[in-house]
Amino acid sequence: MSALEIQNIRKSYGALETLKGIDISLESGEFLVLLGSSGCGKSTLLNIIAGLAEATSGDIHIGGRSVLGVHPKDRDIAMVFQSYALYPNLSIHRNIGFGLEMRKVPKVERDKAVREAARLLQIEPLLERKPSQLSGGQRQRVAIGRALVRKPEVFLFDEPLSNLDAKLRMEMRTELKRLHQMLKTTVVYVTHDQIEAMTLATRIAVMRDGRIEQLGTPDEIYNHPATLYVATFVGAPPMNLLNATAHQGSLRIDGTSITLPMPPTKAQIKQEQQLVIGIRPETLYLDESGQLEAVCEVAELTGPELIVTAQAGSQRLMACLPPRTAIAEGEMLKLGFDAGSLQLFDRATGLRCA
Protein backbone atom coordinates (compact mmCIF):
# COMPACT_ATOMS: atom_id res chain seq x y z
CA MET A 1 0.00 0.00 0.00
CA SER A 2 1.32 3.41 -0.85
CA ALA A 3 1.72 5.91 1.94
CA LEU A 4 0.89 8.88 -0.20
CA GLU A 5 -0.86 9.01 -3.51
CA ILE A 6 -1.22 12.26 -5.41
CA GLN A 7 -3.65 12.03 -8.30
CA ASN A 8 -3.88 14.64 -11.02
CA ILE A 9 -3.68 17.61 -8.67
CA ARG A 10 -4.42 20.96 -10.25
CA LYS A 11 -4.44 24.36 -8.62
CA SER A 12 -5.51 27.66 -10.17
CA TYR A 13 -5.60 31.14 -8.77
CA GLY A 14 -8.09 32.76 -11.10
CA ALA A 15 -6.73 32.36 -14.58
CA LEU A 16 -3.27 31.48 -13.31
CA GLU A 17 -2.66 27.76 -13.13
CA THR A 18 0.15 27.00 -10.70
CA LEU A 19 -0.19 23.21 -10.68
CA LYS A 20 -1.01 21.52 -13.96
CA GLY A 21 -1.79 17.93 -13.09
CA ILE A 22 0.61 16.31 -10.63
CA ASP A 23 0.70 12.52 -10.20
CA ILE A 24 3.01 10.93 -7.64
CA SER A 25 2.75 7.68 -5.77
CA LEU A 26 4.92 7.24 -2.70
CA GLU A 27 5.69 3.96 -0.94
CA SER A 28 5.99 3.82 2.81
CA GLY A 29 9.48 4.83 3.94
CA GLU A 30 10.31 6.80 0.83
CA PHE A 31 12.00 10.18 0.94
CA LEU A 32 10.58 12.28 -1.88
CA VAL A 33 12.18 15.63 -2.65
CA LEU A 34 10.23 18.20 -4.64
CA LEU A 35 12.96 20.14 -6.36
CA GLY A 36 12.51 23.31 -8.38
CA SER A 37 13.27 26.99 -8.58
CA SER A 38 10.97 29.42 -6.80
CA GLY A 39 7.53 29.75 -8.30
CA CYS A 40 7.45 26.24 -9.76
CA GLY A 41 4.57 25.23 -7.49
CA LYS A 42 6.45 22.92 -5.12
CA SER A 43 5.39 24.72 -1.95
CA THR A 44 1.81 24.95 -3.19
CA LEU A 45 1.81 21.19 -3.70
CA LEU A 46 3.14 20.66 -0.19
CA ASN A 47 0.48 22.95 1.27
CA ILE A 48 -2.18 21.02 -0.60
CA ILE A 49 -0.86 17.76 0.85
CA ALA A 50 -0.87 19.37 4.31
CA GLY A 51 -4.37 20.70 3.83
CA LEU A 52 -3.33 24.33 4.24
CA ALA A 53 -4.52 24.95 0.68
CA GLU A 54 -7.25 23.31 -1.34
CA ALA A 55 -6.58 21.83 -4.78
CA THR A 56 -8.82 22.97 -7.61
CA SER A 57 -9.16 19.38 -8.77
CA GLY A 58 -7.55 16.01 -8.18
CA ASP A 59 -7.31 13.73 -5.18
CA ILE A 60 -4.82 12.89 -2.44
CA HIS A 61 -4.70 9.64 -0.51
CA ILE A 62 -2.72 9.34 2.71
CA GLY A 63 -2.43 5.83 4.07
CA GLY A 64 -4.98 4.61 1.55
CA ARG A 65 -7.64 7.13 2.58
CA SER A 66 -8.75 10.14 0.55
CA VAL A 67 -8.07 13.32 2.49
CA LEU A 68 -10.04 15.62 0.24
CA GLY A 69 -11.70 18.20 2.47
CA VAL A 70 -10.18 16.65 5.60
CA HIS A 71 -8.86 19.10 8.19
CA PRO A 72 -5.03 19.23 8.44
CA LYS A 73 -5.11 17.86 11.97
CA ASP A 74 -6.94 14.73 10.81
CA ARG A 75 -4.63 13.98 7.88
CA ASP A 76 -2.01 12.11 9.88
CA ILE A 77 0.77 14.43 8.77
CA ALA A 78 3.32 16.63 10.48
CA MET A 79 4.97 19.63 8.92
CA VAL A 80 8.26 21.42 9.46
CA PHE A 81 8.18 25.00 8.23
CA GLN A 82 10.93 27.04 6.66
CA SER A 83 10.47 29.67 9.36
CA TYR A 84 10.35 26.94 12.09
CA ALA A 85 7.00 28.38 13.28
CA LEU A 86 7.66 27.57 16.91
CA TYR A 87 5.29 28.93 19.54
CA PRO A 88 7.36 31.76 21.05
CA ASN A 89 5.36 31.97 24.27
CA LEU A 90 5.65 28.29 25.16
CA SER A 91 8.61 26.36 26.52
CA ILE A 92 10.48 23.98 24.23
CA HIS A 93 8.97 21.07 26.14
CA ARG A 94 5.46 22.32 25.46
CA ASN A 95 6.32 23.24 21.88
CA ILE A 96 7.33 19.66 21.14
CA GLY A 97 4.45 18.15 23.07
CA PHE A 98 1.81 20.55 21.73
CA GLY A 99 0.45 18.14 19.14
CA LEU A 100 0.04 15.43 21.76
CA GLU A 101 -1.42 17.91 24.23
CA MET A 102 -4.06 18.92 21.68
CA ARG A 103 -4.83 15.27 21.04
CA LYS A 104 -5.41 14.75 24.75
CA VAL A 105 -2.55 12.28 25.24
CA PRO A 106 -2.05 11.71 29.00
CA LYS A 107 0.68 13.82 30.55
CA VAL A 108 2.96 10.93 31.53
CA GLU A 109 2.91 9.45 28.05
CA ARG A 110 3.37 12.89 26.51
CA ASP A 111 6.33 13.60 28.73
CA LYS A 112 7.98 10.33 27.72
CA ALA A 113 7.48 11.03 24.01
CA VAL A 114 8.91 14.55 24.33
CA ARG A 115 11.99 13.30 26.17
CA GLU A 116 12.48 10.56 23.59
CA ALA A 117 12.33 13.04 20.71
CA ALA A 118 14.62 15.45 22.56
CA ARG A 119 17.12 12.67 23.12
CA LEU A 120 17.08 11.72 19.44
CA LEU A 121 17.71 15.32 18.44
CA GLN A 122 20.14 16.05 21.26
CA ILE A 123 18.17 18.98 22.64
CA GLU A 124 17.43 17.52 26.08
CA PRO A 125 19.13 20.33 28.04
CA LEU A 126 17.02 22.95 26.23
CA LEU A 127 13.57 21.67 27.14
CA GLU A 128 12.79 24.32 29.74
CA ARG A 129 13.85 27.26 27.58
CA LYS A 130 11.83 29.50 25.29
CA PRO A 131 12.42 29.49 21.51
CA SER A 132 13.99 32.96 21.61
CA GLN A 133 16.82 31.55 23.73
CA LEU A 134 17.87 29.04 21.07
CA SER A 135 20.12 29.33 18.04
CA GLY A 136 18.82 28.77 14.52
CA GLY A 137 20.03 25.18 14.37
CA GLN A 138 18.52 24.36 17.75
CA ARG A 139 15.19 25.89 16.73
CA GLN A 140 15.21 23.75 13.62
CA ARG A 141 15.76 20.67 15.77
CA VAL A 142 12.83 21.66 17.96
CA ALA A 143 10.64 22.06 14.88
CA ILE A 144 11.68 18.59 13.73
CA GLY A 145 11.08 17.24 17.23
CA ARG A 146 7.58 18.66 17.21
CA ALA A 147 6.89 16.67 14.06
CA LEU A 148 8.62 13.52 15.33
CA VAL A 149 6.63 12.99 18.54
CA ARG A 150 3.40 12.73 16.62
CA LYS A 151 4.60 9.67 14.65
CA PRO A 152 2.53 10.64 11.61
CA GLU A 153 2.11 8.69 8.38
CA VAL A 154 3.81 11.39 6.31
CA PHE A 155 6.31 14.10 7.25
CA LEU A 156 6.27 17.31 5.26
CA PHE A 157 9.31 19.57 5.15
CA ASP A 158 9.10 23.02 3.59
CA GLU A 159 12.67 24.15 2.84
CA PRO A 160 13.67 23.43 6.42
CA LEU A 161 17.36 24.21 6.03
CA SER A 162 17.31 27.35 3.94
CA ASN A 163 17.50 29.68 6.94
CA LEU A 164 20.68 28.09 8.29
CA ASP A 165 24.23 29.03 7.42
CA ALA A 166 26.17 26.76 5.09
CA LYS A 167 28.04 24.75 7.71
CA LEU A 168 24.98 24.16 9.88
CA ARG A 169 22.94 23.28 6.82
CA MET A 170 25.34 20.48 6.01
CA GLU A 171 25.23 19.15 9.57
CA MET A 172 21.45 19.21 9.69
CA ARG A 173 21.29 17.52 6.29
CA THR A 174 23.31 14.61 7.60
CA GLU A 175 21.19 14.62 10.73
CA LEU A 176 17.98 14.41 8.68
CA LYS A 177 19.39 11.55 6.66
CA ARG A 178 20.40 9.73 9.84
CA LEU A 179 16.92 10.24 11.30
CA HIS A 180 15.27 8.97 8.15
CA GLN A 181 17.47 5.88 8.04
CA MET A 182 16.70 5.19 11.68
CA LEU A 183 12.96 5.89 11.71
CA LYS A 184 12.10 4.75 8.15
CA THR A 185 9.44 7.42 7.85
CA THR A 186 7.74 8.66 4.71
CA VAL A 187 8.89 12.16 3.87
CA VAL A 188 7.96 14.82 1.35
CA TYR A 189 10.64 17.47 1.32
CA VAL A 190 10.56 20.73 -0.62
CA THR A 191 13.79 22.46 -1.56
CA HIS A 192 15.45 24.47 -4.28
CA ASP A 193 18.86 23.17 -3.25
CA GLN A 194 19.92 20.39 -5.58
CA ILE A 195 22.60 19.12 -3.19
CA GLU A 196 19.96 18.56 -0.49
CA ALA A 197 17.81 16.82 -3.06
CA MET A 198 20.62 14.56 -4.27
CA THR A 199 21.82 13.59 -0.80
CA LEU A 200 18.52 13.09 0.99
CA ALA A 201 16.09 11.74 -1.56
CA THR A 202 15.22 8.22 -2.45
CA ARG A 203 13.31 9.86 -5.28
CA ILE A 204 13.37 13.36 -6.69
CA ALA A 205 10.56 15.12 -8.50
CA VAL A 206 12.01 17.99 -10.49
CA MET A 207 9.25 20.55 -10.97
CA ARG A 208 8.92 23.38 -13.42
CA ASP A 209 5.96 25.66 -14.15
CA GLY A 210 3.50 23.50 -12.24
CA ARG A 211 4.51 20.26 -13.90
CA ILE A 212 6.79 17.42 -12.92
CA GLU A 213 9.67 17.55 -15.34
CA GLN A 214 11.13 14.26 -14.16
CA LEU A 215 10.46 11.85 -11.31
CA GLY A 216 13.23 9.44 -10.52
CA THR A 217 16.02 8.33 -8.21
CA PRO A 218 18.89 10.78 -7.65
CA ASP A 219 21.02 8.59 -9.91
CA GLU A 220 18.48 8.76 -12.75
CA ILE A 221 18.03 12.50 -12.32
CA TYR A 222 21.75 13.12 -12.37
CA ASN A 223 22.96 10.64 -14.94
CA HIS A 224 19.93 10.34 -17.17
CA PRO A 225 18.10 13.66 -17.11
CA ALA A 226 14.89 13.44 -19.09
CA THR A 227 14.96 17.01 -20.31
CA LEU A 228 17.38 19.84 -20.89
CA TYR A 229 15.86 21.69 -17.90
CA VAL A 230 16.65 18.85 -15.50
CA ALA A 231 20.13 18.55 -17.00
CA THR A 232 20.91 22.21 -16.27
CA PHE A 233 19.13 22.38 -12.91
CA VAL A 234 20.94 19.53 -11.19
CA GLY A 235 24.69 19.61 -10.82
CA ALA A 236 27.20 22.31 -9.98
CA PRO A 237 28.86 23.37 -12.13
CA PRO A 238 25.97 22.52 -14.45
CA MET A 239 26.10 20.05 -17.29
CA ASN A 240 27.77 21.33 -20.45
CA LEU A 241 25.27 21.71 -23.26
CA LEU A 242 26.68 21.99 -26.75
CA ASN A 243 24.59 22.54 -29.84
CA ALA A 244 25.36 19.87 -32.39
CA THR A 245 23.98 18.46 -35.60
CA ALA A 246 23.67 14.84 -36.66
CA HIS A 247 25.85 14.35 -39.67
CA GLN A 248 26.55 11.05 -41.43
CA GLY A 249 26.19 8.94 -38.32
CA SER A 250 28.25 11.23 -36.13
CA LEU A 251 27.78 14.49 -34.25
CA ARG A 252 29.23 17.75 -35.48
CA ILE A 253 29.46 20.48 -32.88
CA ASP A 254 28.03 23.66 -34.36
CA GLY A 255 30.49 26.38 -35.21
CA THR A 256 33.48 24.02 -35.09
CA SER A 257 34.95 21.23 -37.11
CA ILE A 258 34.79 18.86 -34.13
CA THR A 259 32.93 15.65 -34.80
CA LEU A 260 32.11 13.12 -32.13
CA PRO A 261 30.93 9.56 -32.61
CA MET A 262 27.20 9.06 -32.20
CA PRO A 263 26.53 7.45 -28.83
CA PRO A 264 24.41 4.30 -28.80
CA THR A 265 20.78 5.38 -28.81
CA LYS A 266 17.47 3.72 -29.54
CA ALA A 267 15.95 6.92 -30.84
CA GLN A 268 15.74 7.56 -34.54
CA ILE A 269 18.18 10.33 -35.25
CA LYS A 270 17.49 11.92 -38.58
CA GLN A 271 20.20 13.23 -40.84
CA GLU A 272 20.98 16.90 -40.02
CA GLN A 273 18.76 16.79 -36.90
CA GLN A 274 19.37 19.68 -34.50
CA LEU A 275 20.61 18.21 -31.24
CA VAL A 276 22.15 19.23 -27.92
CA ILE A 277 24.99 17.25 -26.42
CA GLY A 278 25.19 17.10 -22.64
CA ILE A 279 28.46 16.28 -20.89
CA ARG A 280 28.98 16.58 -17.14
CA PRO A 281 32.05 18.72 -16.39
CA GLU A 282 33.50 16.09 -14.08
CA THR A 283 33.51 13.42 -16.81
CA LEU A 284 35.92 15.48 -18.89
CA TYR A 285 39.65 14.91 -18.59
CA LEU A 286 42.77 16.08 -20.36
CA ASP A 287 43.65 13.64 -23.11
CA GLU A 288 46.17 14.11 -25.91
CA SER A 289 44.00 12.06 -28.22
CA GLY A 290 40.75 13.71 -27.05
CA GLN A 291 38.41 14.87 -29.75
CA LEU A 292 37.01 17.88 -27.89
CA GLU A 293 39.17 20.88 -28.47
CA ALA A 294 38.61 24.10 -26.57
CA VAL A 295 40.52 27.25 -25.63
CA CYS A 296 40.93 27.84 -21.91
CA GLU A 297 39.44 31.12 -20.73
CA VAL A 298 39.46 30.94 -16.95
CA ALA A 299 40.79 28.36 -14.51
CA GLU A 300 39.38 28.48 -10.96
CA LEU A 301 40.88 26.42 -8.19
CA THR A 302 38.22 25.56 -5.61
CA GLY A 303 40.47 23.34 -3.53
CA PRO A 304 39.38 19.83 -4.39
CA GLU A 305 39.20 20.60 -8.09
CA LEU A 306 40.16 23.00 -10.83
CA ILE A 307 37.15 24.35 -12.72
CA VAL A 308 38.15 25.32 -16.22
CA THR A 309 35.93 27.44 -18.41
CA ALA A 310 36.81 27.05 -22.04
CA GLN A 311 35.49 28.01 -25.43
CA ALA A 312 34.78 25.42 -28.10
CA GLY A 313 34.11 27.46 -31.20
CA SER A 314 31.56 29.96 -29.91
CA GLN A 315 30.19 27.63 -27.27
CA ARG A 316 31.13 27.59 -23.62
CA LEU A 317 32.41 24.47 -21.93
CA MET A 318 33.31 23.73 -18.34
CA ALA A 319 35.51 20.97 -17.04
CA CYS A 320 36.37 19.86 -13.52
CA LEU A 321 39.98 18.75 -13.56
CA PRO A 322 42.35 17.54 -10.85
CA PRO A 323 43.57 20.49 -8.76
CA ARG A 324 47.21 20.23 -9.73
CA THR A 325 46.66 20.43 -13.46
CA ALA A 326 48.81 23.17 -14.97
CA ILE A 327 46.76 25.18 -17.41
CA ALA A 328 47.44 28.64 -18.75
CA GLU A 329 44.88 31.09 -20.05
CA GLY A 330 44.47 30.86 -23.81
CA GLU A 331 45.90 27.37 -23.96
CA MET A 332 44.35 24.89 -26.38
CA LEU A 333 42.95 21.99 -24.39
CA LYS A 334 42.25 18.54 -25.72
CA LEU A 335 39.55 16.91 -23.67
CA GLY A 336 38.46 13.34 -23.61
CA PHE A 337 35.41 11.74 -22.05
CA ASP A 338 33.81 8.39 -21.53
CA ALA A 339 31.45 7.72 -24.46
CA GLY A 340 28.78 6.40 -22.07
CA SER A 341 28.54 9.68 -20.18
CA LEU A 342 27.39 11.65 -23.21
CA GLN A 343 23.73 12.67 -23.21
CA LEU A 344 21.74 13.53 -26.29
CA PHE A 345 18.74 15.88 -26.39
CA ASP A 346 16.51 17.04 -29.18
CA ARG A 347 17.00 20.78 -29.55
CA ALA A 348 13.44 21.52 -30.61
CA THR A 349 11.61 19.64 -27.85
CA GLY A 350 14.26 19.70 -25.14
CA LEU A 351 13.63 16.02 -24.53
CA ARG A 352 16.22 13.33 -24.13
CA CYS A 353 16.85 11.11 -27.15
CA ALA A 354 16.51 7.84 -25.28
Binding site: L52, P72, K73, I77, Y84, A85, F98, G99, M102, R103
Partner: protein
Protein backbone atom coordinates in the same frame (compact mmCIF):
# COMPACT_ATOMS: atom_id res chain seq x y z
CA UNK B 1 28.44 54.71 19.75
CA UNK B 2 31.77 54.10 21.36
CA UNK B 3 33.65 57.03 19.93
CA UNK B 4 31.76 60.15 20.86
CA UNK B 5 33.22 63.47 21.80
CA UNK B 6 32.44 64.61 25.39
CA UNK B 7 30.96 67.76 23.92
CA UNK B 8 28.41 65.76 21.91
CA UNK B 9 27.53 63.63 24.94
CA UNK B 10 26.99 66.83 26.89
CA UNK B 11 24.78 68.19 24.11
CA UNK B 12 22.67 65.00 24.17
CA UNK B 13 22.09 65.35 27.90
CA UNK B 14 21.16 69.01 27.58
CA UNK B 15 18.62 68.09 24.88
CA UNK B 16 17.16 65.33 27.01
CA UNK B 17 16.80 67.61 30.02
CA UNK B 18 15.26 70.33 27.85
CA UNK B 19 12.71 67.87 26.48
CA UNK B 20 11.85 66.67 29.97
CA UNK B 21 11.37 70.24 31.17
CA UNK B 22 9.12 71.12 28.24
CA UNK B 23 6.95 68.08 28.90
CA UNK B 24 6.89 68.26 32.69
CA UNK B 25 6.65 72.03 33.27
CA UNK B 26 2.90 72.34 32.59
CA UNK B 27 2.16 69.40 34.87
CA UNK B 28 4.34 70.84 37.58
CA UNK B 29 2.64 74.21 37.21
CA UNK B 30 -0.76 72.48 37.39
CA UNK B 31 0.19 70.91 40.70
CA UNK B 32 1.67 74.15 42.08
CA UNK B 33 -1.51 75.99 41.13
CA UNK B 34 -3.61 73.39 42.89
CA UNK B 35 -1.86 74.00 46.22
CA UNK B 36 -1.40 77.76 45.97
CA UNK B 37 -3.64 80.05 48.01
CA UNK B 38 -6.12 81.94 45.80
CA UNK B 39 -4.44 85.26 46.63
CA UNK B 40 -1.12 84.06 45.21
CA UNK B 41 -2.74 83.13 41.91
CA UNK B 42 -4.48 86.46 41.61
CA UNK B 43 -1.41 88.50 42.66
CA UNK B 44 0.30 90.80 40.22
CA UNK B 45 3.08 90.03 39.40
CA UNK B 46 2.24 86.33 39.58
CA UNK B 47 3.74 84.46 42.50
CA UNK B 48 5.31 81.32 41.01
CA UNK B 49 6.01 79.62 44.28
CA UNK B 50 3.26 79.50 46.96
CA UNK B 51 4.11 80.82 50.41
CA UNK B 52 2.03 78.10 52.07
CA UNK B 53 0.91 74.78 50.64
CA UNK B 54 -2.88 74.67 50.64
CA UNK B 55 -4.42 71.25 50.14
CA UNK B 56 -7.93 72.33 51.05
CA UNK B 57 -9.15 72.21 47.46
CA UNK B 58 -8.46 68.47 47.27
CA UNK B 59 -10.72 68.08 50.30
CA UNK B 60 -13.40 70.21 48.62
CA UNK B 61 -13.40 68.16 45.42
CA UNK B 62 -13.32 64.79 47.12
CA UNK B 63 -16.04 65.54 49.64
CA UNK B 64 -19.35 63.79 49.03
CA UNK B 65 -21.62 66.37 50.61
CA UNK B 66 -24.97 66.70 48.89
CA UNK B 67 -25.10 69.41 46.18
CA UNK B 68 -21.48 70.45 46.80
CA UNK B 69 -18.80 70.91 44.17
CA UNK B 70 -17.27 67.72 45.55
CA UNK B 71 -20.39 65.66 44.83
CA UNK B 72 -20.45 66.89 41.23
CA UNK B 73 -16.78 66.10 40.83
CA UNK B 74 -16.79 62.62 42.36
CA UNK B 75 -19.87 61.57 40.42
CA UNK B 76 -18.27 62.78 37.21
CA UNK B 77 -15.12 60.89 38.12
CA UNK B 78 -17.17 57.74 38.56
CA UNK B 79 -19.04 58.38 35.30
CA UNK B 80 -15.78 58.88 33.43
CA UNK B 81 -14.34 55.62 34.76
CA UNK B 82 -17.52 53.77 33.89
CA UNK B 83 -17.91 55.22 30.41
CA UNK B 84 -14.25 54.93 29.43
CA UNK B 85 -13.95 51.48 30.98
CA UNK B 86 -17.04 50.06 29.32
CA UNK B 87 -16.20 51.60 25.94
CA UNK B 88 -12.61 50.28 26.13
CA UNK B 89 -13.59 46.74 27.11
CA UNK B 90 -16.25 46.60 24.40
CA UNK B 91 -13.84 48.05 21.83
CA UNK B 92 -11.15 45.46 22.61
CA UNK B 93 -13.69 42.65 22.64
CA UNK B 94 -14.79 43.73 19.17
CA UNK B 95 -11.31 44.48 17.88
CA UNK B 96 -9.83 41.05 18.63
CA UNK B 97 -12.07 38.99 16.31
CA UNK B 98 -12.43 41.80 13.77
CA UNK B 99 -8.69 42.59 13.64
CA UNK B 100 -7.76 38.93 13.42
CA UNK B 101 -10.26 38.27 10.65
CA UNK B 102 -9.03 41.21 8.57
CA UNK B 103 -5.39 40.31 9.17
CA UNK B 104 -5.83 36.67 8.11
CA UNK B 105 -8.21 37.38 5.23
CA UNK B 106 -6.62 40.16 3.17
CA UNK B 107 -9.51 40.02 0.69
CA UNK B 108 -11.84 41.68 3.23
CA UNK B 109 -9.31 44.40 4.07
CA UNK B 110 -11.36 46.96 2.16
CA UNK B 111 -14.08 46.81 4.82
CA UNK B 112 -11.68 48.02 7.47
CA UNK B 113 -10.47 50.81 5.18
CA UNK B 114 -14.08 51.85 4.78
CA UNK B 115 -14.59 51.97 8.55
CA UNK B 116 -11.36 53.92 8.98
CA UNK B 117 -12.58 56.35 6.32
CA UNK B 118 -15.74 57.13 8.31
CA UNK B 119 -13.45 57.65 11.28
CA UNK B 120 -11.97 60.62 9.42
CA UNK B 121 -15.28 62.49 9.59
CA UNK B 122 -15.23 65.32 12.14
CA UNK B 123 -17.35 64.58 15.25
CA UNK B 124 -19.54 67.58 14.56
CA UNK B 125 -20.78 65.97 11.35
CA UNK B 126 -22.09 63.01 13.32
CA UNK B 127 -23.36 64.92 16.35
CA UNK B 128 -26.90 65.49 15.14
CA UNK B 129 -27.61 61.97 13.89
CA UNK B 130 -26.05 60.50 17.04
CA UNK B 131 -28.15 62.82 19.22
CA UNK B 132 -31.33 61.81 17.43
CA UNK B 133 -30.39 58.15 17.66
CA UNK B 134 -29.68 58.33 21.36
CA UNK B 135 -32.89 60.28 21.95
CA UNK B 136 -34.81 57.64 20.08
CA UNK B 137 -33.31 54.93 22.26
CA UNK B 138 -33.92 56.97 25.39
CA UNK B 139 -30.22 56.94 26.17
CA UNK B 140 -29.44 60.64 26.39
CA UNK B 141 -27.80 61.64 29.66
CA UNK B 142 -26.93 58.01 30.29
CA UNK B 143 -23.50 56.42 30.82
CA UNK B 144 -24.42 53.44 28.64
CA UNK B 145 -25.51 55.73 25.83
CA UNK B 146 -22.29 57.70 26.02
CA UNK B 147 -20.23 54.50 26.17
CA UNK B 148 -22.03 53.32 23.04
CA UNK B 149 -21.13 56.55 21.25
CA UNK B 150 -17.52 56.22 22.38
CA UNK B 151 -17.47 52.66 21.09
CA UNK B 152 -18.08 53.99 17.59
CA UNK B 153 -14.94 56.09 17.96
CA UNK B 154 -12.80 53.47 19.66
CA UNK B 155 -13.70 50.29 17.78
CA UNK B 156 -12.30 51.31 14.35
CA UNK B 157 -9.15 52.58 15.99
CA UNK B 158 -8.56 49.49 18.15
CA UNK B 159 -9.45 47.14 15.29
CA UNK B 160 -6.91 48.83 13.09
CA UNK B 161 -4.24 48.65 15.80
CA UNK B 162 -5.02 45.01 16.58
CA UNK B 163 -4.92 44.15 12.89
CA UNK B 164 -1.38 45.45 12.55
CA UNK B 165 -0.53 43.56 15.72
CA UNK B 166 -1.88 40.31 14.29
CA UNK B 167 -0.09 41.03 11.01
CA UNK B 168 3.23 40.79 12.81
CA UNK B 169 2.42 37.28 14.09
CA UNK B 170 3.45 34.86 11.32
CA UNK B 171 0.66 32.85 9.77
CA UNK B 172 2.86 29.76 9.87
CA UNK B 173 2.63 29.65 13.65
CA UNK B 174 -1.14 29.33 13.40
CA UNK B 175 -0.82 26.82 10.55
CA UNK B 176 1.54 24.76 12.71
CA UNK B 177 -0.93 24.85 15.59
CA UNK B 178 -3.68 23.81 13.22
CA UNK B 179 -1.67 20.81 11.99
CA UNK B 180 -0.82 20.01 15.62
CA UNK B 181 -4.53 19.62 16.19
CA UNK B 182 -5.51 22.87 17.89
CA UNK B 183 -8.94 24.24 17.05
CA UNK B 184 -9.47 27.87 16.14
CA UNK B 185 -10.29 28.96 19.69
CA UNK B 186 -7.47 26.93 21.20
CA UNK B 187 -5.04 28.47 18.71
CA UNK B 188 -6.24 31.95 19.56
CA UNK B 189 -6.24 31.34 23.29
CA UNK B 190 -2.92 29.52 23.66
CA UNK B 191 -0.87 30.96 20.83
CA UNK B 192 -2.16 34.08 19.13
CA UNK B 193 -3.61 36.16 21.95
CA UNK B 194 -0.64 35.77 24.31
CA UNK B 195 1.57 36.89 21.43
CA UNK B 196 -0.75 39.82 20.73
CA UNK B 197 -0.73 40.87 24.40
CA UNK B 198 1.55 43.90 23.96
CA UNK B 199 -0.51 45.36 21.14
CA UNK B 200 -3.71 44.53 23.04
CA UNK B 201 -2.44 46.46 26.04
CA UNK B 202 -1.39 49.36 23.83
CA UNK B 203 -4.79 49.52 22.13
CA UNK B 204 -6.59 49.33 25.46
CA UNK B 205 -4.49 52.12 26.92
CA UNK B 206 -4.95 54.42 23.95
CA UNK B 207 -8.65 53.63 23.72
CA UNK B 208 -9.09 54.42 27.40
CA UNK B 209 -7.21 57.71 27.05
CA UNK B 210 -9.25 58.67 23.99
CA UNK B 211 -12.51 58.01 25.87
CA UNK B 212 -11.22 59.67 29.04
CA UNK B 213 -10.28 62.90 27.26
CA UNK B 214 -13.37 63.10 25.03
CA UNK B 215 -15.26 66.36 25.57
CA UNK B 216 -17.46 67.24 22.61
CA UNK B 217 -19.92 64.33 22.65
CA UNK B 218 -19.95 64.26 26.46
CA UNK B 219 -20.93 67.92 26.49
CA UNK B 220 -23.74 67.34 23.99
CA UNK B 221 -25.18 64.10 25.30
CA UNK B 222 -25.07 64.57 29.08
CA UNK B 223 -26.88 67.11 31.23
CA UNK B 224 -26.49 66.29 34.92
CA UNK B 225 -24.58 64.30 37.51
CA UNK B 226 -26.05 61.01 36.33
CA UNK B 227 -23.88 61.01 33.22
CA UNK B 228 -21.60 64.06 33.10
CA UNK B 229 -17.97 63.05 32.68
CA UNK B 230 -14.85 64.67 34.07
CA UNK B 231 -14.07 66.80 31.06
CA UNK B 232 -17.52 68.37 31.25
CA UNK B 233 -17.32 68.75 35.03
CA UNK B 234 -14.01 70.59 34.75
CA UNK B 235 -15.51 72.87 32.12
CA UNK B 236 -18.39 73.55 34.51
CA UNK B 237 -15.92 74.68 37.16
CA UNK B 238 -14.67 77.31 34.75
CA UNK B 239 -18.11 78.27 33.59
CA UNK B 240 -19.30 80.27 36.63
CA UNK B 241 -19.01 83.99 37.08
CA UNK B 242 -16.07 83.61 39.42
CA UNK B 243 -13.47 81.05 38.41
CA UNK B 244 -11.23 79.54 41.03
CA UNK B 245 -8.18 78.69 38.98
CA UNK B 246 -6.75 76.67 41.83
CA UNK B 247 -9.85 74.49 41.92
CA UNK B 248 -9.69 73.87 38.16
CA UNK B 249 -6.04 72.93 38.51
CA UNK B 250 -6.87 70.55 41.34
CA UNK B 251 -9.54 68.87 39.23
CA UNK B 252 -6.97 68.57 36.43
CA UNK B 253 -4.49 66.84 38.71
CA UNK B 254 -7.14 64.44 40.00
CA UNK B 255 -8.43 63.76 36.48
CA UNK B 256 -4.93 62.86 35.33
CA UNK B 257 -4.38 60.26 38.04
CA UNK B 258 -6.50 57.30 36.81
CA UNK B 259 -4.91 57.14 33.33
CA UNK B 260 -1.46 57.44 34.90
CA UNK B 261 -2.24 54.55 37.25
CA UNK B 262 -3.54 52.43 34.39
CA UNK B 263 -0.46 53.25 32.36
CA UNK B 264 1.79 52.11 35.21
CA UNK B 265 -0.12 48.86 35.60
CA UNK B 266 -0.07 48.21 31.85
CA UNK B 267 3.61 48.96 31.52
CA UNK B 268 4.60 45.37 32.05
CA UNK B 269 2.27 44.17 29.34
CA UNK B 270 3.49 46.88 26.99
CA UNK B 271 6.91 45.29 26.75
CA UNK B 272 7.01 44.17 23.16
CA UNK B 273 9.29 41.81 21.32
CA UNK B 274 7.51 38.82 22.79
CA UNK B 275 7.34 37.13 19.41
CA UNK B 276 11.11 36.98 19.03
CA UNK B 277 12.39 33.50 18.41
CA UNK B 278 9.29 31.80 17.09
CA UNK B 279 10.36 32.23 13.54
CA UNK B 280 13.61 33.23 11.94
CA UNK B 281 15.13 36.58 12.79
Amino acid sequence: MERQSPLFTCFLYVCAVLLAVVILAPIAWLFIMSISPAADLAAKPLRWWPQTADFSRYKVLLSTLENSEGAAFTSSLRNSIEVAGMATIAAIALAIPAGWAVSRTPSVGWSLSLVIATYMLPPVALAVPLYMGLAHLGMLNNVFGLALVYLTILAPFTTWLMKSGFDSIPKEIEAAAMIDGAGLFQTLKIITLPLAMPVMATSALFAFLLAWDEFFYALLFTSDQRAKTLTVAIADLAGGRVSDYGLIATAGVLAALPPVLIGLVMQRALISGLTNGGVKG
